[in-house]
């Protein structure tokens, strides 16, 4: 991928952090405004997919290595499960919103609604890692070109 346009590279370099911040905002305000872990996670992934498309998989792999994306995926799932189990211990049933029962926050404020923001973050982390991993792997296999070369650069990372 030598002949990438300089303009595209520059613009995407400036754009990606803003997309990332927008994704974080969508996740963190998921219980107050439209959004939440699902769209937020996909937006976070799309910030890195923009880097992947405009500056190549080497650069994207350097920003978010495969192993770390996989760890994000696992961490999200485990945090969600841990919150559920904590609900079982503290609230009496699996996945119950125990924080809201113990410390009901003021409605319409950022720190309210108990476990929902935590779960939103966990889901966002999980979707981010999972979708980015899938797209990165699907873009490794060069269709119509030499498939082995693409794979080698990936596994050397």
């Amino acid at each position: 991928m030598k002949n990438r346009s300089l303009i595209v590279q520059r613009v995407s370099r400036w754009l990606a952090p803003f997309i990332f911040i927008y994704g974080l905002q969508v996740i963190l305000y998921g219980h107050l405004s439209p959004g939440g872990g699902f769209p937020g996670g996909v937006i976070l992934a799309s910030a890195f997919i923009l880097i992947l498309l405009s500056r190549g998989k080497e650069e994207a792999g350097r920003r978010l290595p495969l192993s770390r994306a996989g760890r994000f995926d696992n961490t999200g799932a485990l945090v969600f499960l841990a919150v559920g189990l904590l609900g079982l211990v503290l609230g009496g049933s699996f996945l119950v919103n125990f924080l809201q029962r113990l410390f009901p926050g003021r409605p319409f404020s950022l720190l309210s609604s108990g476990t929902i923001p935590i779960n939103n973050l966990a889901i966002g982390l999980k979707i981010w890692g999972g979708i980015f991993l899938a797209v990165l792997f699907l873009s490794v296999l060069r269709v119509g070109g030499d498939p082995d070369r693409g794979l080698k650069t990936m596994e050397e990372e």
Binding site: G36, I131, L138, V143
Partner: protein, 122 residues
Amino acid sequence: MSPVYLLVFVLFLVGVFGLLTRRNLIKLIISVAVIEAAVNLFLVLAGYRQGGIAPIMTEQHPEVEAFAARAVDPFPQAMVLTSIVIGLSLLALMVGISLRLYHIYGTYDLDEIRRAAREEGR
């Protein structure tokens, strides 16, 4: 009777027709995506209220009764939200399978893949 439900059925049928007649892997993926869009639309339509508001409360209007009488049904929306993201991961899996087959056979055409597989078996 509103034509909207009928149009959603027609969209669903376009997807089913494609799934039954096309023999190209990418076309099959597109058919599945069309069916998904139709089903999601149908579920959300079932919860729509004429002149309703989005099921999101605001600090300016915290009256619950007035809100509950006007808001659209949030339940199908929540389920469709998961369905959309599942659709994306399903699409990633289908694209993975297609790329794998392309890597082996050099084509997306199912008939050609079947012919090549039969020749290999001999």
